[in-house]
């Protein structure tokens, strides 16, 4: 190697030696470049933060007062000879890939991203944020949360028809529909995707602040009310309630009387995971790329070198090697706070 790598792995996180900054570090550092506002990627305690402009609202909602500088998608800054820009990752509002360029070399760190299917189709884009944008590069650092061929997302129209069908069926028999999903990103995709004419929609207190941030960013979400504000329980009988997974089995759910519960996550693809969850329905809704999506995203970068992070690293590294690419992996500490990311058992 005549030239040092643009990104290396350090105890504090992924590090750019040339620019002396970290990307999504898990220990407190001086300069942190943040790909998105999920808790495992944007931690407290860094001195200065840099993120994509659309992430500002959600970042401040979650982290409060921080020293934050933002860039519009595609806007570049130069720092110690490294040119840095953010590009949409399609994962959640404000999520970004980080493009680094130095002396003609381009590296892209994906953070978490959402791309579904082998062929581009705007109907399959995440409708609550800017869709994933492929960025040409020499080296691509990719996530691999769902890096196995068993993960293929069904068309969103089918998925939301299933969710609507479940909600409508419950509403017809006078039962509340409690749909659990991660409060940032997943909850808003549910709200955006369901048929808002079926009945009223209520949310948990953890969800509403993020709804406000999404609405402020111009995302059209249906009207939602806090479940705790409801006086007359009859209002729940045809309602959809969106809440984080932590409410399962808690006293918070008692207010709904007789209800059907469901869980939205990419892991619901597997029967075993559905049965472990012990809910009435599991809907396969993910904010991460499925297997064909990972293939497509990686191919679109044109990268000859790929570094795999959090998920099925070993499988992806071997598969990419079989495809003739130079593949390696970084051990990161992502995925520990986001309930979409239990570690695989291989």
């Amino acid at each position: 190697m005549d030239r040092a790598d643009l990104v290396v792995q350090r105890r504090e996180g992924l590090y750019c030696p040339a620019g002396d900054f970290y990307i999504d570090p898990w220990q407190p550092v001086e300069r942190a470049v943040i790909t998105h506002a999920h808790a495992d990627h944007s931690r407290r305690g860094h001195t200065r933060y840099l993120a994509a402009a659309p992430a500002e609202g959600v970042l401040r909602t979650r982290l409060g007062e921080i020293d934050l500088q933002t860039l519009e998608y595609g806007e570049a800054i130069d720092h110690f000879g490294v040119r840095l820009s953010f590009h949409p990752a399609g994962h959640v509002l404000g999520s970004a890939q980080v493009r680094l360029e130095q002396e003609g070399r381009v590296w892209v760190a994906s953070g978490d991203y959402y791309v579904a299917g082998l062929h581009a189709d705007t109907a399959e884009d995440n409708q609550t944020c800017a869709p994933f944008e492929p960025v040409r590069c020499h080296c691509f650092i990719t996530e691999s949360t769902f890096g196995l061929p068993i993960y293929r997302w069904q068309p969103q129209a089918e998925l939301f028809a299933d969710i609507d069908g479940w909600w409508r069926g419950n509403a017809e028999t006078g039962r509340a529909s409690l749909l659990m999903g991660y409060s940032f990103g997943k909850a808003q995709r549910i709200l955006k995707g369901v048929d808002r004419t079926i009945g009223p929609i209520f949310v948990h207190g953890a969800v509403e602040p993020l709804n406000r941030a999404y609405r402020a960013a111009g995302v059209d979400l249906p009207e939602t009310r806090m479940a705790t504000e409801v006086k007359d329980k009859a209002e729940f009988r045809n309602a959809l309630i969106v809440a984080p997974p932590s409410v399962q089995g808690s006293t918070w759910t008692r207010r709904f009387g007789d209800y059907s519960d469901a869980f939205a996550s990419g892991w619901m693809q597997l029967r075993g995971a559905r049965r472990r969850r012990a809910v009435d329905r599991g809907f396969v809704l993910s904010d991460h790329a499925d297997w064909p999506g990972l293939q497509r995203a990686i191919a679109a970068t044109g990268a000859e070198r790929v570094i795999v992070t959090h998920g099925y690293e070993a499988v992806m590294v071997r598969w990419l090697g079989d495809q003739g690419l130079e593949a390696g992996s970084f051990q990161t500490e992502y995925g520990s706070d986001d309930d979409e990311d239990p570690p695989p058992a291989t």
Partner: protein, 589 residues
């Protein structure tokens, strides 16, 4: 097939009995009779043998999905189920078939058997190409003979009965043997299950649905209050054998196992014994190995299980006998509505005249405490404890538990399991709902008592450095595997420790740095040449995690040897039973 797949999905995701019965009734209302015939067969537990070898299925799946075997294997490890893995990795179907379940089974599935592997592969791949993901999953399950869904036979019978507007007990009796695989399900057989008029004489060898017993988990001090006085109960020793019903009609004998399998040919001794009974007799009881005038350990009976060809040696080594404990039919009359005590009297009278039938002995004591004391003889007698049957109870159907403990339930009052404290050394991810979670563990004991904590830790370090064990030195000897007994929460904790402390991966198996001590319970223990430790335990399960026990205090081979002696009735029980058993005996004494 689609309709059946939809029914499967509804049954699979529901935990409410009522919702399941409703789903079944909706299916019966619309399904063609010959499709429903097969649906009932599968739902009630019928399993045709695997028609295509696993190897062929595996290779065909990799080819159809266009992925290498290692990648398919990685998928399988994550899913924990072959049929489901295939359903997920295949590309979408070219077109979807509208063929019904019966056509699929009779024309396409059963005809696969015996074809060349190439022909099987070609056909299976083309079938996959006309099914959606949920139907593919089902087809694979049916081909592999591993279809299972969360409905009991009783529930299927109930739904059929409600659908047809007849008594569920009648459906249950008509359904005996329906799933044993001797005759294929047909529209005609299905109609016979649900017809509202008495369909004339039943098949000659037809048994009655078994009445199943429940475990009694209650300190005996509460028996008097909750069960009533011992005088109201018939108390019998509980033998560890094969539950069976013997039928003698028209000078012919049938032997049915609890799995509703006709096992007549496997037990010629029983046939000879039952042949001496008058026609129109049906008895319920236990098949055991009977030698030297007494019951032998279950391990001997295992030599007879699954064996269809009986050589002279097996017949001499493990001769079986029938211990009768109930009479369901006498002189062609159904006695099941008679009280237990009446049936017992009729049974005793019958057995008095027929030496070939052994009678299950009854114990009479005036207090539950005396019976609890007597129960301590169980192991020495080679039995599992007591059965408690209310004197006034009728012979019910299936597994029916009632809130009122003193009502008609049969209770198993079993002795506490044998137990040993052992160390987790290997782990493997589970299947089904435990896929991707490490839930299947291998346990070891010390080959000798470690001198102190330091010596034990030195061995752990040695293992952690992956150095081969020094012969004759202190070592951990694996002796049992278990995968049940912990709560989901406990599994989560152990799973985390296993991931953290993994030493090596051998395919799906991980060796783990020894640190966790478990109390392992089991029903029996025997010598075995198949296991490295020389010991095999029966029904092992985890009783609890012994966080309080340091590694060097885990048990040794010597304690296992002591349990062996205890089990096989020799003197001086130097081994130990569970703390609960000790506490119980303390309270009694």
């Amino acid at each position: 097939m689609k309709r059946f797949a939809q029914l499967f999905a509804e049954l699979d995701r529901s935990t409410a009995t009522l919702a399941k019965v409703d789903a079944l009734k909706r299916y019966f209302a619309v399904a063609a009779q010959r499709d429903a015939a097969w649906a009932v067969y599968f739902l009630a537990g019928g399993k045709p043998r695997q028609v295509v070898p696993s190897g062929v299925m595996w290779a065909t799946a990799c080819r159809a999905a266009g992925i290498d075997e290692w990648l398919f294997d990685a998928c399988y490890q994550a899913v924990g189920d072959f049929s489901e893995t295939v359903a997920h990795v295949l590309p979408p179907a070219a077109h979807e078939s509208d063929l019904g379940l019966a056509d699929w089974i009779e024309d396409r599935l059963l005809t696969l058997r015996g074809l060349s592997p190439e022909e099987q592969a070609a056909r299976v791949a083309s079938y996959w190409n006309e099914l959606d993901s949920s139907c593919r999953f089902l087809l694979n399950k049916l081909i592999g003979g591993s279809f299972r869904v969360g409905v009991s036979k009783l529930l299927v019978q109930r739904a059929l009965a409600e659908h047809a507007g007849i008594d569920a007990k009648l459906v249950a009796q008509r359904m005996m043997g329906y799933t044993d695989g001797r005759i294929a399900p047909t529209a005609e057989r299905y109609t016979r299950l649900t017809t509202s008029i008495e369909a004339g004489v039943l098949d000659l060898g037809q048994p009655y649905p078994f009445f199943l017993a429940h475990q009694l988990d209650l300190p005996h001090a509460e028996f008097a209050a909750k069960l009533s006085a011992p005088e109201d109960w018939i108390v019998e020793w509980k033998y560890d054998g094969i539950r069976a019903q013997v039928v003698k009609r028209a000078r012919q004998v049938w032997v049915w196992s609890r799995g509703e399998e006709l096992v007549t040919e496997r037990f010629p001794e029983i046939v000879a014994a039952v042949a001496t009974l008058p026609d129109g007799t049906v008895l319920d009881g236990e098949i055991v190995v009977w030698k030297d005038g007494k019951v032998q350990p279950f391990a001997l009976l295992q030599q007879r299980i699954g064996r269809k060809l009986l050589g002279k040696k097996v017949l001499a080594d493990a001769p079986v006998g029938f211990i009768a404990y109930d009479v369901l039919e006498l002189e062609g009359v159904d006695l099941r509505e008679q009280p237990q005590v009446e049936r017992r009297a009729r049974l005793e009278a019958l057995a008095a005249g027929h030496d070939a039938i052994h009678l299950s002995p009854v114990e009479v004591r005036h207090s539950w405490a005396e019976l609890a004391e007597l129960r301590h003889e169980s192991r020495a007698r080679g039995v599992e404890g007591f059965m408690l049957k209310h004197r006034q109870a009728r012979y019910g159907t299936g597994r029916r538990k009632q809130d009122d403990l003193a009502a008609g339930t049969w209770w198993k009052w079993k002795i506490d399991p044998l137990s040993i404290d052992c160390v987790l050394v290997y782990a493997q991810a589970g299947h089904g709902r435990r896929a991707s979670v490490y839930t299947d563990y291998t346990f070891a004991v010390w080959n000798r008592r470690p001198a102190d904590a330091a010596e034990a830790l030195a061995v752990v370090d040695h293992i952690a450095r992956r150095e081969p064990a020094v012969p004759e030195s202190l070592q951990l000897v694996p002796f049992a595997k278990a995968y049940s007994g912990l709560t989901d929460e406990e599994f989560k904790v152990v799973d985390r420790i296993i991931r953290r402390d993994t030493l090596e991966k051998f395919g799906p198996v991980r060796s783990v740095k020894p640190s966790l001590v478990f109390e392992l319970g089991f029903e029996g223990i025997n010598r075995s040449t198949r296991h490295k430790s020389g010991i095999a335990v029966r029904f092992p399960r985890m009783l609890r995690i012994r966080d309080d026990k340091p590694l060097h205090e885990a048990d040794t081979m010597a304690e296992l040897e002591a349990l062996l002696r205890l089990q096989h009735g020799s003197v001086a029980p130097a081994g130990k039973e569970t703390a609960a058993a000790e506490a119980a005996s303390g309270a009694d004494g």
